[in-house]
Symmetry: C2
Subunit: 323 residues, 2 copies
DNA sequence: ATGAAAGCGCTAACAT
DNA sequence: ATGTTAGCGCTTTCAT
């Protein structure tokens, strides 16, 4: 290729990378030759020389899914601008696999690693004294020195409750996932505290169950059969909320007239599929992914950021809480 | 590291890669030294030497989502066994982005490329005369010489109809997505042909609409208001099917007693969320991904496979068609 | 059974 | 402004 352009390889390198002091016409001649031959620089050789790969690894500890994808897209967004690519590794909640992928990423000399998962709960650091920076996204690291970007679930729950209060509801119940699940307890506590701050009691004790529509339907039955006086329910997930709406309707209650309902996740297929469309809390997963990638870039570029960063949630009002 | 083990770099390389003729004790000593130092071979240097990267690129033309993920997991499965990793690139349906990623992958000297997308329709080849093998998964290439792995949607539709016949239904309607959508028309035609082969007419003309629950609900209304005599509906997607079930129930029809319903995709959150649980057609996306990766590996290893490979679908019976 | 040395394709420092 | 050259870290002949 350098031969075709009639220059040395060194000159060609400078021409293609916009470095050095070259005559514009030389630069152009090289670019033309590269074009003509479909030449693309060998990234491996470049990495070997420069020590940078312009690649970051992303390890999702839980199986790739609804949460990982927006995180990935957000990260790609932030990294794509810097011409960097993402290596996605699905560890499937298996520590062996996780360490295997970690080794793979290290052998590939990625410039950094983003660790994500399905739960927001803090997890053991993926490694100590690693030769590359690591940022945790959505999940956080148990080591407070590590950099983590997580949704502010307390903020999310607060927004949900305050929205229900704003549309005039006072007898608010909370239905959520398993009690041993971090998100469930965090959101439940924030719900209770927000109500308490307004001088209100929950309309019923928090109902813990599964993250499923079936549980939402069941929970509707429980609320009605215990005769709880409820005019709104904040649910820990959109699936629970959708099930609950169906359960309420099956029992002759109208949503939102009799009972207003707020979900959590703002998962399109759930909020749109629900009749009426579901008001929900959006954790802005893309934003979290973007933010994590930006912090990783900062660290790579020598401006390390430490600690747990939280990002606010957003309420998306829809018909299920319309006044 | 070689120094720690007291050998030359050449010997160390042989020890770690299980090549050459070494004394077992030497081999062990090197492995120990590597362990101790947390040494991992630099993949870039290795690639430079061997010309192989043990990496394949995966370009999804549509935004990463419900279809791409199982395909990716299947591909990872097949490739992981061979110690290969996957570079996931989301071209977001943008040809510019797609070509950009193609260049990136080529510069990274991936051993092969898998191209996927959200639609099964044939697409223009991603490039011609590429220096690496390419396999299309789920989508197919318009060039019949290219290797593509696609679901046999005709088979899927046939299984759906035959299942409905097997549970005693005769007045079968079909509700599906947009008429300009390849999958919609292919499945509709196969539905009609399967019925015809049994000497039956569709209970109503095919209803084309959107891939949404809302359309399913609406379609139920249309079927009922036109007075069509229907005892079963095969829907082009699980979302449509779920909406249709709700619409039928809202109009006082019982599923499956009055109307049996079959969906398409076997998407867990839809089939489980639906009451009654939804019988559906599974395209085995993971299998398609795995298959594509295996064919890619074969091609990389010098046994190229050409042409469009179809893979059968699977019917998963649930309560919505229970007898 | 092991070591020495060449070279993969590129970049960067230095020479011209 | 351009060419020359020495490595980056590994694998792989070829000697020993």
């Amino acid at each position: 290729m350098a031969a075709l352009a009639g220059v040395s390889t060194g000159t060609a390198s400078k021409a293609l990378n916009g470095r050095g002091a070259l005559r514009p016409e030389t630069r152009q001649r090289v670019q033309q030759a590269a074009e003509q031959l479909g030449f693309v620089a060998n990234a491996a050789a470049r990495s070997l020389q420069t020590g940078r790969t312009y690649t970051v690894g992303m390890i999702t500890t839980d199986s790739i899914g609804r949460f990982s994808i927006p995180l990935l897209i957000g990260a790609e967004d932030a990294l794509g601008a810097g011409q960097m690519s993402v290596f996605l590794c699905d560890a499937r909640d298996d520590p062996i696999r996780e360490q295997y992928y970690l080794r793979t990423l290290l052998s590939r000399k990625v410039d950094g690693i983003i660790v994500t998962g399905r739960r927001t709960q803090a997890r053991a650091p993926i490694g100590v004294g690693l030769p590359v920076p690591v940022v945790y996204a959505f999940i956080s690291s148990a080591d407070p020195r590590d950099c983590s970007v997580v949704p502010d679930e307390i903020d999310g729950a607060r927004r949900a409750v305050q929205h229900l209060l704003a549309v005039g509801r006072r007898r608010i119940a909370h239905v959520t996932g398993p009690e041993h699940h971090h998100s469930a307890t965090v959101r439940a506590r924030a719900t209770a505290e927000t109500l308490a701050a307004e001088g209100l009691q929950p309309a019923a004790p928090t109902l813990y169950g599964e993250w499923s529509e079936a549980w939402g339907r069941q929970a509707a039955g429980i609320l009605l059969s215990t005769g709880a006086d409820v005019d709104a329910v904040f649910c820990g997930s959109d699936q629970i909320a959708r099930g609950l709406v169906e359960g309420m309707q099956a029992a002759g209650r109208s949503v939102p007239a009799d009972v207003a309902v707020v979900g959590f996740d703002n998962w399109d297929v759930m909020v749109d599929g629900c009749r009426p469309a579901l008001t929900s809390i959006d954790m802005d997963l893309e934003g979290i992914g973007r933010s994590a990638a930006e912090l990783l870039l900062a660290t790579i570029n020598g401006n390390p950021v430490h600690g747990r960063q939280t990002r606010p949630c957003r309420l998306v009002p829809r018909a299920s809480t319309a006044v």
